[in-house]
Symmetry: C2
Subunit: 491 residues, 2 copies
C-alpha cells in the first residue's frame, strides 16, 4: 500500500511532524480507515528517504495520541477509536457556553478529530525542557510543598509587575493577585464587583467562559454591540445609563472570539464613558502579546488614571494553559477583597508551579519563547487568511486578525447554516458555533475559527472543507437538519 | 562562645535537623539574638563530633529559611530579620477566619517563629524525589501542557476511586470530581447546595476555612454543639427542624480543630437524622488516614445508602498542601452541576500535577509514605499529650487526639486568657485562637494546637512555655491586655 506522503525539508515543521500531520489527514478523510495497517518503519523510512528514527518518532506520537495502535510482531494499525463521523452524535446536542467549553476541552484530546475550536497555543511549541529546568532545581525547596500566599508568591509578583511594564502598566507587586488562570481572575472580579441579580455589560460576541462564569453567579449579561473598531459608543453610553451595570467586561486587544483590536481613540472614549458613569471596566488582555503585525495600542489599564480598571491576564496563551497561572492587577481599594475571595475559593496556587514560572520569567525565557513562536503563529494566521480569501464566497464576512488565535465568520443568514459546525464535525473537524459567545440572540449564523494549534497546511485544508460545506448550503445543495437546541440565550 | 548543643544519635531526627532545631530554640528564646555570630562550621563540627558536611547542611537549611545570613570570609550570623517580639504587633489585630487564615499561611514562613498554628504535614517528610520522578518523566507529554478535563484526569479518578475503597467507599471514577484542595471542594459543594441567605449547620467548633468560604457566599452558619463523641443529637435534630438548613458540614474523623473522632453509633444516628429531614451531609474526611491508634470508624459516605452525603477529601495533609489536589465524591445527581461550577471557577487543575499524583498513587507511593510518616506523627502526638499532661493545670480541658494534627484546649474562662495567643506569640510561638473556629461566641477561651509540623522536642518546649503563661494568668500574675477585636461572630 502506498500512502504517498510528501516531505518538505525546507518546511518549518520537523519532518516527523510532517509525517504525523499527513497521516492524520489521511485518517480523517477516510483514506486510512480504522484497522488499516501502516507501512513498517523500515519501509516508510526507505520510501521517504528519512531515518527510521524519524518515522519511529512519528508513529510514537500518533500512538501516544491514540490515533494508531502498535502490536509487537504485527505492526502499526489505525486505531479502532478513530470514528470521526460519530462525533456529531456523541457530543451533546444542547448548545450552551457550559457544554461547549466542556466539548472544547474534550476535542483537544479526541482521536480522529482536528480542532480549530480551541483558542489555545500549540502544545508542541511549549519549551518544556527549559521551563521545567527551573522546577527540577526546586525539588528540595521544602517551602514549595506547603501552602503559599493567597496573593501569590511575592517573587512571581515582582516578575509580573516587570512584565506589565512592557504593556505600559505601572503596577506595584502589591497590586497584583496571582490567580489560577483568567477564568478564576474573572470569577473573583465578578464576585468582588457584583451580586446575584446584578447586570453586567459584555461585548457581543464575547468570551464564552465569562458568560458561563457570570451565569453561575446569577449575574445578567447585557450585550454591547461591536463594530470593527470596538464597542459602539452610543450604545455603550445608553446601556451604562439604562442598565446601571456593575462592570463592563471587554477584551480590547485581539478579542476572543472576533480577533478584533479596539482602536486607541475608542479605548480612550470607552474609559471616559466608564469613568463618567462610575462603572468599573474589567479588561481581559490575555492575547495582547501575540501581535503579528504592528504592536497593539496600550491597554485600558495603562490609560486609566482614576483606578477604574481591573486588569486580568495569564500565561495560558503565551506558554501553556496547563500551568493554570494568571493574574489580576487591580486598584488598591479592591486588592484585599480579591485576596480574601481567593482564600475562600481555593487558598492559593501551587507554590512549585509559581516558582518554576518565576525562574523562567526572570531568566528571560518568555521573551526568547515569543521570539521563536510569533513567526510561527504569524505563518498560521497568514495561512488562515489566504485560505479564507481563496475559498470562502463573498457573502461570508470575516476579517484578518492582527494577533491572538481567533477569527469570526459571519454567514449570510441563520437557518441555512444552522448545522454548519455539525456537518464540519462529521468530516472530522471541530470549530465553535457562534451562538455560545452571545449574550443576546442574533439573526446570523457565526463561527469562531482558531488557528493557534494547527500547522498552516492543516488550517488550509480545514478551511477548504468548510468552504465546500458553506457553498453547498448557499446553493441549496444540502438539506440542513433542524437544530436541536434547548439553550436559552443568556439574557 | 559555646552554644551547648546536644546530639542524640539514637534520635529519629537526622543530626543536621537536631542542630537546626536547637539553634532555632536558642534564636527564639533570645540566647542567640539577631546579629550573633555562630561558630565556624569546622569548630562546631569538632565540638559536636560530627562531620563538617552535617553542620554545613544545618547552616544551609537555616540560611534558606532566612534564620541566619552567611557572608563569605566573615561567617554566619543570626539574621536581622529575627524579631520574634514584633510579631504580636505586626499581625493584624482583627480576629476573623479570613485574617487568621492569612496569618497562618504567613507564619509558616516567618523567620524567628515556631508554629503550632497550622494543621499541615511536616514539609521535610514529603518524599520529593520519589514524587517528582513521575513528573520528570512526563515533561514531554504535550497533552499535559494543555487544558485538562474539568472533572479531573480520568486516570487520577481511577486511582482516587481505588483509594476510597480503603475507606470503605464504593465510588465510581465518574462520581469523583478532582478539585484544588478541600477548600475548593467545600466552596463548590456550598455553591451547589445553597444560595446567599441560606442557613448551614456546622459543628461548634469547626474548620475556620469553611466559615470563611460560606461567609464569602453569603450563607449563615448555625452552630451544632459537640460532645466527646460528636454532634449532640437532640440539638442537631432541633436545628434540622427549626433552621431548615441547606446542608450539615461535619468532620467526623480527627476533627479540625478538636482532634475528636465521632463514634460509630453517632455517625449512624447523624446520617439517619439528616436523611429523615432531607438534608445533605457534607463530610470532610481529610485527616482520616492519619490514624495513630486504632483505625477510625467508616466515613458517613460508606454508611450512606441513600445518596445523602457529599464527601470531600484531599492529599494536602497526607502528602503536601502545595499540590492543591483534592476531590469530591458526590451523589450522581450532583456531579454534573459540580463540574459545571468548577468550569465556571477555574476550568481545571494543572494536568501535569494530576499526572504526577496519578503515577505516585498507582505505584504505591502513598502507602509507602504513610508507613514511614505515621510512626513519626504518632511520636509527635505522644510528645504533645505527655507535655500537656505534665505541664497544664487541671483547670484546662483537652483530649488526646487519636489521629490528625490538632488538639483543642479549653481554658477555665475567657477574660483572664483573652490575650494568651498574643503573649505566646511574643515568646516566638504561634498557635491559633479558638474564636475563629466558632459560628457562635462561647464563654470560654480556647486554643487550637497543631503538632504535625514540629519535632517532638519542639512541641514539648512550646507546651512548657504555654503552660507557664497559663499558670501566670490563672494565678493573677499577669495583667492581660484588653483584646482589640472587631470581629463579629459569624452568625
Amino acid at each position: 500500500m502506498s500512502i504517498e506522503l510528501k516531505i518538505d525539508r525546507s518546511h518549518s515543521l520537523a519532518i516527523y511532524q510532517q509525517i504525523v500531520e499527513q497521516l492524520k489527514d489521511r485518517i480523517c478523510n477516510g483514506r486510512l480507515p480504522a484497522g488499516t495497517r501502516l507501512p513498517t518503519v523500515r519501509r516508510l523510512a526507505a520510501d521517504l528517504g528519512v531515518t527510521r528514527l524519524t518515522v519511529q518518532n512519528a508513529y510514537s506520537a500518533l500512538q501516544e495520541a491514540g490515533w494508531v495502535e502498535a502490536t509487537v510482531g504485527r505492526g502499526t494499525f489505525v486505531s479502532q477509536a478513530v470514528r470521526p463521523t460519530t462525533f456529531g452524535r456523541a457530543l451533546t446536542p444542547a448548545l450552551s457556553p457550559d457544554t461547549v467549553i466542556s466539548e472544547i476541552l474534550q476535542v483537544n484530546h479526541a482521536v480522529g478529530l482536528r480542532s480549530l475550536a480551541s483558542a489555545s497555543p500549540d502544545p508542541h511549541l511549549f519549551p518544556a525542557e527549559e521551563f521545567w529546568q527551573g522546577l527540577i532545581t526546586q525539588q528540595t525547596d521544602v517551602a514549595a510543598t506547603g501552602y503559599g500566599s493567597s496573593q501569590g508568591d511575592p517573587r512571581l509578583r515582582v516578575e509580573i509587575a516587570r512584565d506589565l511594564q512592557e504593556r505600559g502598566i505601572d503596577a506595584a507587586p502589591d497590586e497584583i493577585v496571582v490567580v489560577a488562570g483568567v477564568t478564576q481572575g474573572l470569577s473573583l472580579a465578578a464576585q468582588c464587583l457584583a451580586q446575584a441579580g446584578d447586570r453586567v455589560l459584555v461585548e457581543q460576541p464575547t468570551y464564552l467562559g465569562l458568560l458561563h462564569t457570570i451565569k453561575a453567579q446569577g449575574l445578567q449579561p447585557v450585550a454591547v454591540p461591536l463594530d470593527e473598531h470596538g464597542p459602539i459608543l452610543d450604545e455603550l453610553e445608553r446601556l451604562l445609563i439604562q442598565e446601571r451595570p456593575r462592570f463592563f467586561y471587554t477584551i480590547p486587544t485581539y478579542q476572543n472570539p472576533t480577533g478584533r483590536c479596539m482602536a486607541l481613540e475608542r479605548r480612550q472614549a470607552v474609559l471616559d464613558l466608564a469613568t463618567a458613569h462610575g462603572v468599573v471596566v474589567v479588561e481581559d488582555d490575555i492575547y495582547a502579546r501575540l501581535a503579528y503585525d504592528d504592536p497593539p495600542p496600550p491597554p485600558l489599564k495603562a490609560l486609566d488614571p482614576t483606578g477604574s480598571v481591573v486588569y486580568v491576564s495569564s500565561y495560558s496563551k503565551l506558554l501553556m494553559p496547563g500551568l493554570r497561572l494568571g493574574y489580576l492587577a487591580a486598584p488598591p481599594r479592591l486588592v484585599e477583597r480579591l485576596i480574601s475571595l481567593r482564600r475562600a475559593t481555593d487558598l492559593c496556587s501551587p507554590p512549585l508551579l509559581q516558582r518554576a514560572l518565576t525562574i523562567f520569567l526572570r531568566e528571560g525565557g518568555l521573551r526568547r519563547h515569543l521570539r521563536r513562536v510569533l513567526p510561527l503563529y504569524r505563518e498560521r494566521r497568514n495561512a488562515l487568511a489566504q485560505a479564507l480569501a481563496r475559498h470562502l464566497p463573498g457573502a461570508v464576512q470575516w476579517s484578518t486578525p492582527q494577533g491572538g488565535f481567533c477569527t469570526w465568520l459571519t454567514l449570510p443568514n441563520y437557518h441555512a447554516f444552522a448545522d454548519l459546525e455539525r456537518a464540519f464535525l462529521a468530516q472530522g473537524w471541530a470549530v465553535t458555533p457562534g451562538e455560545v459567545f452571545l449574550a443576546e440572540a442574533q439573526t446570523h449564523k457565526s463561527l469562531r475559527i482558531c488557528f493557534g494549534s494547527q500547522p498552516p497546511e492543516t488550517i488550509a485544508a480545514g478551511i477548504q472543507v468548510l468552504a465546500g460545506l458553506i457553498h453547498d448550503r448557499l446553493h441549496g445543495r444540502s438539506q440542513p437538519q433542524p437544530l436541536v437546541n434547548d439553550w436559552a440565550p443568556l439574557v
